[in-house]
Symmetry: none
Subunit: 122 residues, 10 copies
């Protein structure tokens, strides 16, 4: 079962705006309809307000979806909500890219706040 | 321990604006949580105001992070601050690209000032 | 010692604006700090006003840096200044791309005048 | 000796604007300074007004530069002028890409008229 | 727990020798030392004697490793043994390619019987 | 239902040995277990003895598998047998490459006779 | 109708063995069954005995297949025979690569004599 | 200081021969001459006799070179010797690929025993 | 007219066997049949016996074919003969790769002596 | 002037055979005929007998060719001889790859002793 309580945070090391991207290429959960495993790459991008997510705790949080029966769309929005609530970032985006099922591959994008101009120039 | 005092500077050879990019692909520090080494490529881009950073001193400054326990986000903002304070550039940007940890790879971007138009045309 | 007097020019063959790019991939000079050789590709782009630089003389001028102890930033601005003074072009840009030193590779960009719209369309 | 009289033209088959590109990858002339052969790819792009250039005559015209001692810049502007005078196109552009000489490779761009919007959308 | 009883077989459709390769790119198990998930691509190649493995049952068998704590080497030899015992093939090979752990990526190869000449010509 | 009677043949145009390869990248049949469609590329290679297969009839024969519930292994051996029986070639090989099912992609190779030396030199 | 009489030959310029390859990427003929055009690349490789085929005559000979209704296999063997008879080469090989028809792409290989060792080393 | 005592081993899960490859792309040590850090990818390949090296212990053993002043050649032979002595494998090979120093990049290969035929077929 | 007298040679700097390859990518001659220019890359490979060909003289010799009407096959064998006669090498090979004419591109290979084993290992 | 006395050696760290490759991509010398600079990549491969070449001394030795007027062939054999005499290796090979001059690019290969079988397997 997804466990947002695993998430740990630390104070942002800078008062000025900056941007963070973490790409987890080994995400897996379970299809609630067929019971078969799903595989995805999960990209988290955000501009912190006061805190940053600690990387090992993020990995453990992602692992807590391993045996959860949950749709692609719900995974993406759930992660977006769990992190947004706990970090209150200036901006946050989750992009999930799912390996094919029955010949279909999928991408889901959820976000909160507006994408910073700096990100587009990087 | 990061040693900004290792940084040396020389007078900018031109009064007119110009742009500089240094990419260090062999940066390493230590994870403060697990004690395991982290590896990154660090990209420094700036438009000098009066001085430029000397390349060998930059290399030695980067090497001073070798056995420092420090988060990705702090590394990036620390380098950004150390160089900005000492050079007072028109613009400066640090992009750090970290090899994977637990299947997660990361990019952090910090900057001060606004990106010059010339950079986008290069 | 860099010898701008080696540079020769010929009358531009056209009164209408046009654009020129010369890429020298075999540039070498010497690090003033360590005495070790540096290697770069030097890209010259310009829109002539009245004269063009003759190619063989440009090659010899570049070769005159071979045993000169000089920083990357000074090489780039020096070439930019030497050519701008002697040609008074509408626009001129020098981009130097340096092979790695101590794991660091660098790019320096200097220019005079504004980039012509035609260049972006080429 | 370049022989623009070799060029032949035929009536444009359409009254509405359209665009044409011919790329000759086997152009050769001679360096007026060293006597050594030069090799280039010549790209001709134009929007006809009333006539189009016939392809075999264009090939023969290009071949007439074979033993001509002439600078890159003059070749490019000469072709641009010869074709513009005889065709009066809405727009015409010549891009010449020269193989390396002394480690230097070059590109020259000449044009007359303004690039049509349609070309940028192609 | 790995469940070889999930494996189903069907009579080989041909008495003459032929070759089969199945690549599963979505294999996951658990590290017995750290408890963290491992991810691999598993390649099965074999020449059947009398029976072939049914593909959906192979997928379910692979899925039964999902929450098993087991070393890379044991996974590879276990699959090799489970399939060899139940199919008695002329030849069988298992190649597992594991995504990185602590910066280390791995490949394990186990086989029984000799590789058929036809395979090398395919 | 696969219809080998659709296959047509014509006399080989040469008495001396030669080699033929036909690659069909748009083969589809149905999984007999799940009822879902399967997609494959089918490669036919052969050295004719007296007759060659006519290409349009080969296409129609392949199309006759469209709604057939049949395993990968059976498809491959069935095509190999249907063509071998009707053409009596010196050598014939069928390679089928199947798109993924449940994350598993597959290749099956069947053949009759020995691969000619000329094929390896082509 | 294929016109081998178009082929012209000239005396081989060397008494010692050497090798020749001509690749025609613009071959077209007509399918005798459907009337649709076929497109192929035709590769001719040979070691001359006493004469070489003249290149322009080879082009015209290839063009004489343009409106001929003829199978791939017949084209390949016909060219092989026409050239072998008229040149009596030490070795000659024709490889035809046909663009797809009904999702099927094809390669036919015909040859006379044995491939020279020198060819394999080139 | 390199600490081979960190290495842990477990019983090989199979009595039949099989092959193992571990690639560590994040190896770093220190140049004994200049004191500057060196970076390498270390590839370990072996066929176990009775025991396998545990992956996390291998990572920690590699990390123990982090601040060791040691030549490329010594690193490679030291790892080869430490593992061979403790595992007595049928065959073991170490390949180290070092990033450039002073424009020079290097590869060192050390091994004990003979490479198994199965490795070449994988 | 090809001028082998332009070729200059210098004493081989080594008594032990070694190998040399020079690739000229800017060769041009004229088709004796149509009068149109031909373009080729000429590769010279040899093992010297007593002398080596000087590079600038080789360039000038190649340039002497510029306005010569001569077949591909004759160019290749002529260069092979001119160099073999004057250098008496242990082994020499000429490979000419011609850009397309009438949609046909060609390669001609001529040689004298046997290819050294060292070449294949380089 | 080439200074083999710059070369330093250290005792081989292993009594068993192993292999070493150093690739210097920034080699430059001067053409003795034209006075223009030449640029090459120099690859050194060897199996040591008793000593190894120290990397920084190798770099300085290579740099001593910087202003030397010397042919490609002599550079290659000179390096091969200087290192062979001082190291008495089991096997040593020098491959030099030169950037183009007058449109010609070159490779020279010199060696002493026989290539070890292990090198071909690495």
């Amino acid at each position: 079962m997804p466990q947002p309580d695993l998430l740990e945070f630390f104070d942002s090391p800078a008062a000025t705006p900056f941007l963070i991207e973490h790409v987890q290429e080994e995400f897996t959960s379970v299809c609630p309809k067929t019971g078969h495993p799903d595989f995805a790459a999960i990209t988290l991008r955000y501009q912190p307000r006061a805190v940053c997510v600690e990387l090992k705790s993020l990995k453990l949080y992602y692992q807590s979806f391993r045996n959860e029966g949950i749709f692609y769309e719900a995974v993406t929005n759930r992660i977006c909500a769990d992190l947004s609530e706990r970090m209150s970032p200036q901006w946050l985006q989750i992009v999930s890219d799912w390996r094919g099922r029955g010949g279909i591959r999928s991408r889901i994008i959820a976000s909160s706040g507006h994408v910073p101009q700096e990100w587009l120039r990087g």
